[in-house]
Symmetry: C2
Subunit: 204 residues, 2 copies
DNA sequence: AGTAAAATTAGAAGATGTAATAATTTATAT
DNA sequence: ATATAAATTATTACATCTTCTAATTTTACT
């Protein structure tokens, strides 16, 4: 478990915040508390690893709103929703929207910790994957438009000869582009290139 | 929408069954009703496309049990859970276990239909994907052990020369295996083969 | 107008993959 | 023990890919 990971607690109830803070401290987890969604957003830093615990009913932005906003920004930290007045439809909506759990207050300390640990693990996994993806995206963005075209054809399994005729250029040019693509993408083999293309969703 | 798709209703309450049956008929959807989980399992036929509507509280197998049993058998039809006495933890459990929705009785007819339509679409999509996967698995199972070894190396991007030395066989043999692999897997290009390998989860 | 990046082409040599044919040696099962 | 399938190897001819070097043309930007 990455001890750098933090638990970001957003609840307008001071008692809940301090209870959660203590609970996290009890197992050596760092936490930061915020009394409103806006306060959290103001300091938001995507580079901080960890998970969120969001209260539903708060002045201003509700926990569910905050969940939706982050999701709209393609930011997907593991989210645990807590609420004192939840109902079934609300829980279903939160979970189908990606929340890792929806917990009613008062909650059981141990099950909260279990969920938090699961959430932090998931975040670590996601971060590992997305840092690799970013690296690949950076390489991809170095490609010229023409090189991207060639890349697409290559991963579709087309022969250089075919690509050349489809693009109305000579085979030599395709070879030149192709070699640049391999170099810029840092792919040693076609199989490497295909795996990257998959992560980039250039192919199903 | 595939009109062959059916809605499988499992509820011990005759009134609910007939209400749902009528509702499905009203939009031209075929349905079959069962008064218990066991009754459903007795006639279960994986080849029938569609979705399930399961009541939670029933004599014998509960809807949630049934959901768990199917899941344990790696059978994943879209499941809609309905209940008269649901609570938040139950809803969270059902949805995180993969239920497409968790709806309290009495339910709104239109939203039930919306969910059913979503469920049937999802089922159709899943079936399309899994029939393709089955086809590929069948091809894969035709491979001899040695051919499977070669396939693995090939999709890792290894040269025939390398594979030969790693397997302590001649390059000719690798070429022979490789060509058999392409033939048996019905892959026209290396890129085809890689895509199949991904579906087979031979590579991340 | 001048510079830099991008796109284009060619040629040649060597490495690699493909296809077709043919043959030998192990296994495996009836 | 003997078919049958699997595994093995070799050879030949060809197709393709890779790498290198070198050069020209276009495009975009200042």
């Amino acid at each position: 478990m990455n001890k750098e990971s933090g638990v970001f607690i957003v609840d307008d109830d001071e008692q809940v915040r301090s209870a959660l803070t203590l609970l996290m401290e009890s197992v050596g987890l760092r936490s930061e508390s915020f009394s409103s969604g806006q306060e959290y957003l103001d300091q938001f830093d995507d580079s901080k690893p960890g998970c969120l615990i969001l209260d539903v009913r708060m002045p201003g932005i509700s926990g569910l709103d905050l969940q939706a906003r982050l999701s709209a920004e393609k930011i997907h930290p593991p989210i645990i929703i807590i609420t004192g007045h939840g109902d079934v439809p609300m829980a279903v909506r939160a979970v189908t929207a990606g929340a890792i759990d929806f917990i009613e207050k008062p909650f059981n300390n141990q099950s909260m910790l279990d969920t938090v640990h699961r959430a932090i693990e998931q975040d670590a996994k996601q971060r590992g994957e997305s840092s690799r993806l970013e690296e690949i995206e950076n390489h991809y963005n170095e490609l010229t438009p023409r090189e991207k075209e060639v890349l697409l054809s290559v991963i579709e399994g087309k022969r250089n000869k075919i690509i050349a005729s489809e693009m109305n250029i000579s085979q030599s040019t395709v070879e030149a582009h192709r070699s640049k693509v391999m170099e810029k993408m840092a792919a040693k083999t076609l199989s490497d290139l295909m795996r990257m293309a998959l992560l980039l969703k250039l192919i199903d």
